[in-house]
Symmetry: C2
Subunit: 208 residues, 2 copies
Amino acid sequence: MNYPNGRPFKGNKTQVGRTNTTQSSNINYGGRGMSLEKDIELSNKYYLDNEIAVIHKKPTPVQIVNVHYPMRSKAVINEAYFRTPSTTDYNGIYNGYYLDFEAKETKNKTSFPLSNMHKHQVKHMDACFNQNGVVFLLIRFKTLDEVYLLPYANFKYFWERYLNGIKKSITVEEIKKNGYYIPYQYQPRLNYINAVDKLILDESEDRV
Amino acid sequence: MNYPNGRPFKGNKTQVGRTNTTQSSNINYGGRGMSLEKDIELSNKYYLDNEIAVIHKKPTPVQIVNVHYPMRSKAVINEAYFRTPSTTDYNGIYNGYYLDFEAKETKNKTSFPLSNMHKHQVKHMDACFNQNGVVFLLIRFKTLDEVYLLPYANFKYFWERYLNGIKKSITVEEIKKNGYYIPYQYQPRLNYINAVDKLILDESEDRV
């Protein structure tokens, strides 16, 4: 399944909760590690089960045009279209903090191409940041199999640099300098809340 | 369009933003006022445009099974099914506060039947409340054309009363006593953030 832009449609694993997600993820990504989306899904389940945080992936926005009702079976949507999301993919609450983030993967070894980001997503992140939300990007470099949390406050500079036509991407070094490396661990595999704790601590110090 | 349970499918007006939503709302609801969903959509747009809050309705969760790619036209989803939402319909951020709520309408004149609520929604609201979120219900009595904000902390008592088989509904008087009446005004028509301010103030006093 592909989006109109040809980007593979990965489904809403968080919501669908299929058992073959790992397999399909490998097919979708082909990376050494599990897909970032799958890792986040497992982390969110771990956070929910252990009452650490309540974070959910939003369903893929779909415009439903026609629904069919076969006899003695559930409704079938037989005409619908993908819509452009008006927000990021993930939001929720962690210990009173509103969390809002987007997860992106890149095959690029040296930098994160900003063409991966959509203007409406950045606009939404900006609005949430202005409401004092904890807003960030989770970026996975597939070939390096490294994941970083890049706070929106720092991302903003690179985004404006991109809009000004100066640089189309953020180098790995820039992300290391301006973000938080998230090492893989046992459980959850991708414990991104640890990086969120650091971000909250650093931002509170900035605001003092 | 109807859900498997026969409940009319109202689409994601917040996301689709069709121009005929008012009309279709009248068809769907038949109440004197605009539908609660439509009112909330307009309020959320007002809050977003005026940088007061960032609240969005979540897309209807759909399990996509098959997508068709006609020549020179966008992808068509030609087999998909409605999934049970694992969260409430609305969440977002208001001045640093995580807001999470469900909106319900009832034709009942004297009480709100708790059969309108789904266990998984209440479970989600409870989890968000335990993370110190601002969690509540927006309840509209269609025939009275009155809307109330009922804090989750107060709703919880009535829900347990319902689960214990004592009472299947919350009376209007109980909602008036334990909630906040939201009068209609000029703009936004349903300014529920005013009630949220009262709720935040009262809860902060409770916690002192």
